[in-house]
């Protein structure tokens, strides 16, 4: 009661509120790092069973697309030196989609294997560059099978768990019938060699 009679300045001075908020704002601006959890997904092969001998490789040579990298980051693709990493994508596509026409290339996409071998001295950068090209080649081939671009297919792959329609498209692209994938992505990363090469 007595208070209300005291006329005049009764509110808190909020003029510096903005300054305080600014300080906090600047602190959070500086400390913020936007999480960037993106990258190339890859599934490693299961570890070899010590009780079983390693499986005999009975693959026909024509079904293996060989990429070798030496310790100077020089590329050898199908026994030919290659300068430009970007050329690998088209070569892989031609190789996988050969379907037996060219006797030096794969019998069918199901049989085709891309074997990628590096040296212990190769840089990680070239490894990612090549892996990126291989992924791009397969994404484009999958995309073409369902009438999409490679980028669209990549988006589909990310969201495939969300709807049955997308699941159906995804399975169609990979040629999945009766639980068997007829257009698998066979990328084999061999253990690096020890020689400097």
């Amino acid at each position: 009661m007595a208070r209300s009679s005291r006329r005049g300045k009764n509110e808190i001075n909020a003029g510096s509120m903005a300054d305080i908020a600014f300080l906090l704002l600047i602190f959070f601006l500086v400390t913020t790092t936007f999480p960037n959890d993106r990258g190339i997904l890859f599934t490693l092969p299961p570890k070899p069973d010590p009780n079983q001998p390693p499986p005999d490789v009975t693959k026909n040579q024509r079904n293996i697309f060989k990429i070798l990298v030496n310790s100077n980051d020089q590329l050898l693709v199908e026994d030919e030196p290659v300068r430009n990493v970007d050329a690998i994508k088209d070569q892989v596509k031609e190789f996988v989609l050969n379907n037996g026409r060219n006797p030096n290339m794969s019998d069918s996409p199901e049989e085709a294997v891309v074997s990628f071998k590096t040296d212990r001295g190769s840089s990680y950068e070239i490894f990612i560059d090549v892996l990126d090209q291989l992924d791009a080649a397969y994404n484009e081939m999958y995309g073409e099978r369902v009438g999409m671009t490679g980028d669209k297919f990549r988006e589909l792959r990310n969201t495939v768990k969300k709807s049955p329609e997308q699941r159906r498209l995804y399975d169609k692209a990979r040629g999945k019938e009766n639980g068997k994938v007829t257009f698998p992505k066979n990328i084999s990363i061999a253990e690096p060699s020890n020689v400097g090469g």
Binding site: A14, M17, A18, A21, F22, L24, L25, F28, L29, T31, T32, T33, F34, P35, N36, D37, R38, G39, I40, L41, F42, T43, L44, P45, P46, K47, V69, D86, T118, D119, R120, G121, S122, S123, Y124, E125, F127, I128, D129, L131, D132, D135, A136, N139, R154, R157, N158, K161, I189, E191, P192
Partner: protein, 155 residues
Amino acid sequence: MSKFQKKAKASQDIPTAALPDIIFMLLFFFMVTTVLRETDMLVSQKLPRATQLSKLEKKSLVSHLYIGTPKQTNLYGNEPKIQANDVLIEPKDLVLWVNKEKDKLDEAERDQITISLKIDEEAKMGIVSDVQQQLREANARKIMYAAPEKLDEDS
């Protein structure tokens, strides 16, 4: 002249009463989006760029490994090292580390663990493949090579 001066008598200051509110809104935005780094980086990193990127669905399933040259070269040398959580480890300790990370997850999700590998582009494949072999051994087979989007200018 006098006419103009009279007009100028109108109040000229911008009302700033709403300024704190605007600032607070910005502040809340940054507070909500901020993820404070939980690990100190002991290795320096420059990730290689790539184009075929995927996003990870469940963040809780992801564990990070960092490989790069140590920042404190006088303590740890010049060779690329593996960092897990806050310490530098050797490849042979990786199986133990993976099992510890798996223990943090629910029973049903343990085999879905994804390892995000953040590797410096200068690192050699030798250490990278050592890590891969150990991850195979530990049965953590889903891996992701973290990479930012490639810019167009160099392609």
